[in-house]
């Protein structure tokens, strides 16, 4: 950086030198110096792009918009990946531990805990986090993991539902989804789910906000490129709730989507609303086959 200052100093000296001012030489000198300065400034950047393509899995069919599906993990720096690969080092596991403690804690009028009905979570919850959102005949709509946890609390425990974004709900969602870690995402999207999948798809491709961007604008069309200093991923959801380096805590999916929509200066979909769940359904479907990575580590 001090080189550019020196070059500019020379440029100034050249521009005011009485002899040199006599011709067009000063202009040429300035242009030459500018060129060298620009070249050195950009040549300094030797940032390695993450080798995300190597980790692609094939989409299960032609109808999937992305034929090469890649988890968000591979778009992050090696340092970030290292935090996720080490369960000890991954602060997201504090949430798993909190969820585990809450699992056995009796709450509500019925005096039950999750364990009262579901016993050992490792057995009873295995696979659950790979197939949500799931269709509910009773409610005639898809239901995601947070909603299901609260349905259990209010209907079977007589307990107050946890607020979205609360430590408890995020921790329990993380704990339950963690039981499916490593299992491939595989949702049922046929039958009554079809219109909801279509609704999510419409939301994904519709441009919103002052910046007039759709999810697809960045995550489908431009993943694998830098948006300022952000290396864009495919926007997959297999790792949620994720430990975000920015927030230094676990962040549930609907909060992350809120952030994206806010960033394009649009009106965010309220967490756990029909729109948010439809979008979650569609996003999860786009990542069919990806391993559940909860609690993942992302930027």
């Amino acid at each position: 950086m001090s080189d550019t200052r020196e070059l500019v100093g020379w440029a100034k000296a050249a521009a005011t030198h009485p002899r040199l001012c006599a011709g067009i030489a000063p202009v040429l000198i300035i242009l030459l110096i500018l060129g060298i300065a620009s070249a050195t400034a950009f040549a300094e950047s030797k940032l390695a792009h993450p080798a995300w393509r190597e980790h692609a899995i094939k989409a299960p069919g032609k109808e999937y918009p992305l034929q090469e599906i890649v988890s968000g993990l591979w778009f992050r720096t090696p340092e970030t990946q290292a935090i996720q690969e080490d369960d000890f080092n991954n602060p997201g596991f504090f949430g798993v531990e909190e969820g585990e403690a809450l699992w056995s804690k009796p709450e509500g009028a019925a005096g039950k805990s999750c364990a009262s009905c579901h016993q050992d979570a490792a057995a009873s919850m295995k696979g659950v986090g790979a197939v949500t959102p799931k269709w509910s005949d009773k409610l005639n709509k898809p239901v995601n993991l947070e909603q299901q946890i609260n349905i259990c609390r209010s209907e079977h425990m007589g307990a107050q539902p946890w607020a979205f974004g609360s430590n408890e709900l995020t921790a329990m969602t993380t704990y339950v989804r963690f039981q499916s870690r490593g299992m491939p995402v595989a949702l049922r999207v046929d039958g009554p789910m079809s219109p909801w999948l279509a609704r999510g798809k419409a939301l994904y491709y519709t441009r919103v906000g002052q910046l007039d961007l759709a999810c697809a604008s960045c995550h489908e069309k431009n993943h694998g490129k830098y948006l300022r200093a952000d290396f864009l991923s495919q926007g997959q959801t297999n790792g949620f709730p994720v430990y975000r380096l920015r927030d230094q805590r676990l962040v549930p999916l609907h909060e992350r989507i809120e952030g994206c929509v806010f960033d394009v200066r649009g009106t965010p979909y309220p967490p756990l609303s029909d729109d948010a769940v439809a979008l979650e359904l569609y996003l999860a479907w786009r990542g069919t086959g990806l391993p559940v990575e909860t609690p993942a580590v992302r930027n």
Binding site: T77, D230, C260, D263
Partner: protein, 154 residues
């Protein structure tokens, strides 16, 4: 100003604005440095540390400024069971953070002189680590790192 510039004034103005443009391309910190130089002076008692022996590891580009992995080590030949000089403390300062001090590692004679953690950096800057040896010598290392806000500000 209505008077036309003469050639010398025009060229000087052109060079000056070019200067502003080119320095903008570099990694200059946006705000004035904090008291990091005083912190280092207080740590070393005014002595100038020798820029050697200390290895400061930081990513080239921070994934996010709120959680940046940092590792620091000092290269001294290890002679077991000897009373040779060992690393007592390592001070880490961030010249472009709101507060200059980041942390101070403290070691014992039984320590291997290395440690790692995760820190917060407000913006692109040159992070500095200064090590104090038990025999009173000071060594340091400086490492540049780029820190920016993500794509949409998210």
């Amino acid at each position: 100003m209505v008077r036309k510039w003469n050639r010398r004034e025009a060229l000087a103005a052109g060079a000056a604005s070019a200067g502003l443009l080119t320095t903008g391309l570099g990694a200059a910190p946006a705000r004035a440095a904090n008291d990091y130089a005083e912190q280092i002076k207080a740590f070393t008692g005014g002595k100038e540390p020798v820029e050697a022996r200390v290895k400061l590891e930081l990513p080239e580009l921070a994934e996010n400024g709120n959680t940046v992995p940092l590792a620091v080590s000092v290269d001294i030949p290890a002679i077991p069971n000897s009373s040779q000089s060992y690393v007592e403390e390592i001070l880490v300062v961030a010249p472009a953070n709101p507060n200059s001090r980041v942390l101070r590692f403290r070691f014992s004679a039984d320590s291997v002189p290395e440690a790692a953690t995760r820190i917060r950096l407000a913006e692109s800057q040159n992070v500095i680590a200064v090590a104090r040896m038990s025999d009173g010598r000071f060594f340091s290392a400086t490492r540049p790192i780029k820190v920016t806000i993500g794509g949409c500000g998210g």
